[in-house]
């Protein structure tokens, strides 16, 4: 064999740090190359030799105790630890040195500071919340587009609501509501299982003329919310929460009709 496995790869292989494909390549090579196989065996033996002894040192009890004491000192000698400056343990009381010693900060100042902080934190959370919502609608649109591009619009293809609903049983830890709206012009065409925003999601697929509507749903702990519409990359989204479930209808259908569809579902 001329193409020996690189030494670095040999070690990554021994340490289980290679991905499956590369790991299989190394194995294939080892099967036919005695040199490399010998290397692997000898490094494994070395690891076994190291592993056979308790080489790890534990912190001695006395050291641990004195360390705790030091941390304790640190903790109450320095109220403003956060600035990272170390104060000498036996330094004299601050008042005698500090030019700030006699400066009393009026109480209203603290109140103002607290208010500023509260506002800042609030703004931060609001921002994070907004961003999360934005991400979610992006994910939903991406899921919708994917479902149209790949031949994976439906896992179960049927217009019968009594086939779609049981199909989800055993695949999800919740049971989505599936309604037949074909008399109203929204044909049920099937269901699909997806994974979105960290949960398993039921996608129930409807069609209005040539427009596909993905109705995504999963359980949510939040309180009920009225339908809220938005648009993303030319798609219309309407999301709401009802009876412990989150719903989002996404489609290229116009907003008025999509809202019509949603209000029929919610009846």
């Amino acid at each position: 064999m001329t193409n020996h496995t690189e030494p670095n790869l040999v070690h990554a292989y021994i340490d289980d740090e290679l991905d499956l494909v590369r790991s299989m390549e190394v194995e294939d090579h080892l099967a036919e190359c005695a040199d490399c196989a010998g290397q692997v065996a000898s490094y494994r033996a070395l690891r076994a030799g190291i592993g056979a002894h308790a080489l790890r040192y534990s912190a001695p009890a006395q050291f641990r105790a004195s360390l705790l004491e030091e941390i304790g000192k640190e903790s109450f000698s320095e109220p403003s630890l956060e600035n990272g400056l170390k104060k000498k343990p036996d330094a004299l009381p601050r008042a005698s040195f500090s030019p700030w010693a006699n400066l009393r900060i009026p109480i209203w100042n603290w109140a103002a500071l607290a208010a500023c902080l509260a506002i800042a934190v609030g703004a931060l959370f609001f921002g994070v919340h907004q961003r999360r919502e934005h991400n979610l609608s992006q994910e939903i649109v991406a899921d919708h587009v994917r479902s149209l591009m790949a031949t994976h619009l439906t896992d179960v293809l049927t217009s019968d609501q009594h086939t779609v609903k049981p199909w989800f049983t055993g695949k999800l830890d919740f049971s989505p509501q599936v309604r037949d709206l074909s008399p109203q012009g929204y044909d049920l065409i099937g269901g699909r299982l997806d994974y979105l925003a960290g949960h398993s999601v039921a996608a129930i697929v409807y069609q209005r003329r040539k427009h596909v509507i993905n109705l995504l749903t999963w359980p949510s702990d939040d309180a009920d919310e009225q339908p809220k519409s938005s648009a993303q990359q030319g798609f219309n989204l309407i999301e709401w929460r009802q009876a412990g479930m989150y719903y989002c209808a996404v489609s290229d259908l116009n907003q008025a009709e999509l809202m019509d569809f949603v209000s029929m579902l919610r009846k």
Binding site: E17, S42, G49, Y57, P60, F63, L68, F76
Partner: protein, 201 residues
């Protein structure tokens, strides 16, 4: 006043003797207790192997723990062990800079050891059965940049990614240091073992 148990220390030691603490300080202690203290042994182990003696290990480990406590507000919720060992390693490097005159002499001299290596090819069986003292001695002889990655990999069972985070080096560097470190270690363990066998014969 301070008990060996950290929990007792937290609840009875500091808080009672001080007659109450600002709540954020209490919270900090509790969080430090939960996130950092479980890795004290890992910190001490790294310090002990890198400094190669108990006194310096205690100095380095203590300094590192105090730094960790002082800078705990910069901890962003990443892996506590990775975070702490990064501090231990930096503390060790600072310590090393003060030690350089004494340290150099003790380092592994590759030229001296290559002769042994040339004479003896270590067999897997020899490596597998190597005695504790042999292995300890061999690891202690490794140059520090190899020793630290071997320690983190073999004694702390850390992933390449974690080791890369602690040493602040790319994965490729970790891989090549491990590779060279193990190669050297194999020669040291195998070589010394071979010499002993020779003596016995």
């Amino acid at each position: 006043m301070f008990s060996n148990s950290w929990n007792k220390f937290l609840l009875t030691g500091v808080l009672h003797s001080q007659g109450g603490f600002p709540t954020d300080e209490q919270a900090k202690l509790a969080r430090f207790d939960a996130v950092v203290m479980p890795h004290l042994d890992a910190a001490y182990n790294l310090a002990r192997w890198m400094t190669r003696n108990t006194t310096d290990a205690e100095d380095v480990a203590q300094e590192a723990m105090l730094r960790a406590f002082r800078f705990f507000n910069t901890f962003q919720g990443e892996d506590g062990r990775v975070w702490l060992l990064t501090i231990v390693r930096n503390t060790y490097l600072t310590w090393l800079r003060r030690q350089i005159p004494q340290q150099n002499a003790a380092e592994f001299d590759e030229a001296v050891h290559t002769d042994i290596e040339a004479a003896l090819t270590p067999e897997s069986e020899v490596l597998r059965r190597a005695g504790e003292q042999q292995i300890r001695k061999a690891i202690a002889q490794l140059p520090p940049e190899y020793r630290e990655v071997i320690l983190m990999r073999e004694l702390e069972q850390m992933s390449y990614k974690e080791i890369a985070a602690v040493t602040q080096s790319p994965l490729g560097t970790i891989m090549s240091r491990l590779s060279r470190g193990r190669n050297l270690l194999r020669r040291l363990v195998g070589g010394e073992c071979g010499t002993e066998v020779k003596h016995r014969d």
